[in-house]
Symmetry: C2
Subunit: 233 residues, 2 copies
DNA sequence: ACATGTGAAGCGCTTCACAGCG
DNA sequence: CGCTGTGAAGCGCTTCACATGT
């Protein structure tokens, strides 16, 4: 980037001299996407530490498997609370990351599609540990309706909209077959869900105003396959 | 990048004039990482199409939710077999992607840790559909050993090395608790596994020569949390 | 006329290197 | 001295725009 040049934001052109920081703060006010993805990793590493009051970027970097400079830059987006010559205060750092990630709020989750994967997720301890509470399960199969998984009763699909709305759920997890994933996402959106985590092996076109993240298990295997294939040539 | 400038590769500096393509072909010979991640998505989209002989980059881009130019550039790494004014031959394109991803080989998979998630993955149809065959399951729990999941007998951890070696398995899926994930990865590496897919909520330091990919379900939720939190400020 | 293939510009993340400060 | 915070350079991916080809 040419420093001191003009920054184009949509059709608007602004000149901040050499100050990209001002640009970020005033115009975008955003933490880089890649940083957001690393914050949970840092948090996890920090939570596994004990018996020390401070952490250095080198230490955290080694645990998270990244470059120390990256750790420092990432953390600098949350504010300036490291101590030179010492490191970061462990408790404060954990708190700041949780705050930034919005983990101080308790988010409620519903899961649509109680197959093997849906059931596994309903039982997944990692959700509860992070403050995500599963409040409802939905499935179209009459044989499943009424039975419980981890204490939560499986409800019929027809009740989805009303149930989600009354519980004020924020996140919808889609573990349905691929063919009904889009439809499911739209129903969830209509019911007032704000974000969707999609495990169905298909691309969901995000409904208006909804943030969709995709986790595709077989995609991951295919990526591994590529690199194995490559290495053996 | 300054075109016509020098390209540094390690300590070696080479000058290829303006030709980044030559540089890629001769020195790196690699498809960009992000492209590799998108190829499975394209493939999935193509497999869902029928009743037409050709696809255009615009069409594929719309289905995959990306920019058309990106599709063309991605595909150009696999070779030059689009037809101007027409598009890509559907069957040929599917074949080329499968070839590039190494999906023409059948990879064998073992799963370590048969909890809810491990069981879900053992049953996961998406693996079989893509040519990944689960050949063994391992768990330390004596109560589980000997029972079957989807036709595969659960074996004790002690048999892992010998069993993996004799079956010539290529991919190890780690669905153990976080505390034993590293250890598990090293055992898998010692047994001759070549790649690891890690679902344990922790960072595995890759054993020598092993490619490790990490899928963390709660990380994904935390990323969603960040953006929801952000929006409501 | 239409869609690919691709230089080149744009943009954002990574990494270096060091000033700044306890 | 040690470690953070950060300009600036490096690098790779994205996107544009259009030459190229059918």
């Amino acid at each position: 980037m040419v420093c001191g040049g003009a920054c184009g934001v949509g059709r608007l052109f602004l000149d901040f001299g050499c100050c990209w920081r001002v640009y970020r703060a005033l115009v975008k006010s955003t933490v880089p996407k890649v940083t957001v993805q690393r914050l949970p990793v840092y948090l996890h590493c920090l939570e596994g530490m004990s018996g020390q009051e401070h952490v250095s970027s080198d230490q955290l970097a080694a645990m998270a498997g990244v470059n120390p400079a990256k750790v420092r830059k990432d953390l600098s987006f949350l504010g300036t609370f490291g101590v030179r010559g010492v490191g970061y205060d462990l408790d404060q750092l954990k708190f700041q990351i949780r705050l930034e990630l919005g983990l101080e709020e308790e988010w409620t989750v519903v899961i649509v599609g109680v197959g093997n994967l849906g059931r596994a997720l309903a039982n997944y301890a990692g959700f509860t540990e992070r403050g995500f509470r599963v409040v409802a399960l939905f499935d179209p199969d009459p044989a499943k309706i009424g039975s419980k998984v981890d204490g939560i009763t499986i409800e019929p699909l027809e009740d989805l909209e009303q149930s989600v709305r009354s519980k004020g759920a924020a996140i919808g997890v889609v573990t349905t077959p691929a063919v009904v994933a889009q439809e499911t996402a739209e129903t969830l959106a209509a019911a007032g869900i704000r974000s969707i985590l999609n495990f169905a092996p298909t691309v969901i076109k995000p409904p208006e105003g909804i943030d969709v993240r995709r986790v595709d298990l077989s995609t991951e295997l295919q990526v591994l396959s590529f690199y194995m294939h490559r290495r053996s040539r």
